[in-house]
């Protein structure tokens, strides 16, 4: 405020003839400029995030069928879609699979990613080359790795079983063909895909930790494990939160990998909320039911998005 009036007075002095501008008008104009800068982002968010989100919620209360695309009419049917989906045994199954898949994937990806990040934070010959090679799974499109892994995991002719067979252990493991194994196999493949991401981000985080901290710890006579637990992990915490939350959001909505690996089978053993919403909407063409499952997925993600924002806010302080 005070600076604004000062500059206004100064400009009035130099131009002379122009009357001193109203400070209120100036403030309003500044407000307007501020909003002008924010507006494109707001419009963008409303158009591309707000609208589909609201649309999806509305759709879950509608009888939305192929006919709707012609007539534009989608009569509201109360909570019919919701009760139908929630009562369906498959929904409970898919929800459980989604949670197991997400938890298992995150645990595996994070632990292996962290171990590799610590491993590569020491300098050694060819370390850079190896580190970039480990990135490969991340660069391969999900569908491609899904199809390749489907071949690798084939029970009779797959490379993995052939290899295990020559070692004399578990040569005919039904990786993708047994309902008891399939979910585990899909998780393992997803861990393989997610490790590079975790490693890269955590590696970056490790580089940020000041060397002095480690030096001080070793002067104090702390063991390697103690240093890792009491120095590395706590300083790495913000990065860990980011890795886990981002990992969560990309894992919970998994679709392409499962479609390529098992199509949700065998016997619905790998159905997740992602595949269920795909099946309802695009195979059965019951868009209302698909929207219900989609909304549940959004709700779960939203809860974790709040955690993410919280974590970021404490970072800023």
């Amino acid at each position: 405020m005070t600076t604004a009036t000062a500059t206004a007075a100064a400009s009035a002095k130099t131009t002379g003839t122009t009357p001193a501008p109203d400070p209120d008008r100036l403030r309003r104009r500044r407000r307007l400029t501020q909003w002008g800068f924010v507006a494109p982002a707001v419009v963008f968010m409303l158009l591309f995030f707000g609208f589909p989100l609201v649309r999806n919620v509305v759709m879950s209360f509608q009888h939305y069928t192929p006919r709707t695309f012609f007539t534009g009419e989608a009569p509201f049917n109360g909570t019919d879609n919701w009760s139908a989906v929630l009562q369906d045994a498959l929904f409970g199954k898919a929800l459980w699979h989604t949670l197991v898949f997400t938890a298992g994937s995150l645990l595996g990806q994070f632990c292996i990613g962290l171990a590799l990040a610590v491993f590569f934070s020491r300098r050694f010959p060819l370390g850079g080359v190896l580190r970039s090679l480990i990135l490969l799974p991340w660069l391969v499109p999900m569908v491609v790795s899904g199809i390749v892994w489907r071949r690798i995991l084939d029970q009779d002719t797959g490379v993995l079983n052939t290899f295990l067979d020559t070692l004399g252990i578990g040569g005919s493991t039904p990786w993708l063909t047994s309902p008891d194994m399939a979910l585990l196999s899909v998780i393992l493949v997803n861990i393989w895909i997610g490790v590079p991401f975790n490693m890269v981000i955590l590696y970056g985080g490790l580089q940020e930790i000041p060397k002095e901290l480690h030096e001080a710890a070793s002067l104090d006579g702390a063991s390697a494990w103690r240093t890792f637990r009491s120095v590395t992990l706590p300083t790495l915490k913000p990065v860990i939160t980011v890795v886990l939350v981002l990992g969560f959001m990309s894992t919970v909505k998994i679709l392409d990998l499962i479609l390529a690996l098992t199509d949700g089978g065998p016997a619905d053993a790998t159905q997740t909320l992602g595949t269920l919403t795909y099946q309802s909407s695009f195979v059965e063409l019951d868009f209302g039911a698909g929207a219900v499952v989609g909304n549940v997925l959004i709700l779960i993600s939203a809860v974790f998005a709040v955690f993410y924002l919280r974590a970021n806010r404490t970072d800023g302080k």
Binding site: R67, D156, P174, T177
Partner: protein, 424 residues
Amino acid sequence: MTAHPPVAALRGRRRPRRAVTSFAAVSVLVSGAALTGCAQERDSDVYTVMNSSTDESYHRWDAEAMARCGTRLGVRIDQQSVPAAQVMTKALRMASSKSLPDIVQFDASEMPTFAEAGGLVDLRALGLATDDIPQGIVDFGSYRGTYYGAARSVNTLALFYDKDALEQAGLEVPATWDELRDTAKKLTEGKRYGLALSAGGAEDGVFQFTPFMWSNGGDETELDGPRVVQALDYWKALLQDGSLSRSTVNWTQADVNDQFMAGNAAMMINGPWQVETLNTDTSLHWGIAQIPVPQAGDASVGPLGGAVLTVPRTGDTDREQTAGRIVACLAGEKEQLTYALNSWMVPANEKAATVWRERVPELDALADQVAEARSRTAQLGAGWPAVSLALQSAFQSALTGRSSEAALKHAQQRATSGNRGTRP
């Protein structure tokens, strides 16, 4: 000479008007594009066909057929190919933005859904004749008695076998379930299985189960009926004999073909669309027979597969008329034969099929199978996808340990519980 001045004067007067109209046209176009998003601008003699011919060879065959028909009808026909699984959703999206193409080629099992939504024009009203088409194939392209889809060719499943493997083992081509089970068992040795089929968790698996279900007298309206249970038990028996790989629940029909070509299976259930690939391996001597039946003398009922050409309702009757003529040309006797010879599928037209049989005697068994084949959606129409999903889950859980009866009972409940919203 006298004509010149008025023309010049006219030109002079017209110039500003032209500027105004072109400006108006541009602004209409711009605002139109902004309002309708991706609504396509229809060119008066350019017609669009949307199909799923994303394979290079199919795309080329279709392009050639469209070029020929285009020349005949004096129009240009453009081809727009999208992956098979996306044809329906893309067409629906286009319907809501009023930008449907003039012709859409649907998989015949999807056509009823689009017809039920009121999106298709009756082909008979557009002047298409069905005289030379067998009733089964007319039904295949019909929904509730109205003929919406013209098939160019149809396909079904058959038993493919490795002639050398059977000869070495001194075995005959199986014709009944018992023979198939026996032969498959005897042909299983080392890394080679007797039989390969797809029980994958998608339409592929259901397509392959139907000939066993139908030939045994089972029906999709009663999934837990004893005949269906028996058919599934037969699949289970093949698996328990070790004649069928346990990976079968994870295989698509293309995977089955790969296994057969790699020598990992001596026989397979598959369709004629694999012939092109099969023939790339000249050392492989394959034969083809009807799918074995429960008892000698039973009819082998396979599923009728293939795509149909439809004219979506765009509201522009003139264009719809021309689209009808294009469909008539593409599905005409001559084009059918060319297409069938290229793609190894059976022409829908009887006259074309007779010529085709003479030209491709090795696929004779397939033509017989087509004559008996049934359409998946004949009974359930747009209700088929829900039943198909329930059935997939059922045979997969039966093949991985559950009893056929329990699995199918559950499937029947799931298919008829009328949940999944309020599907009519």
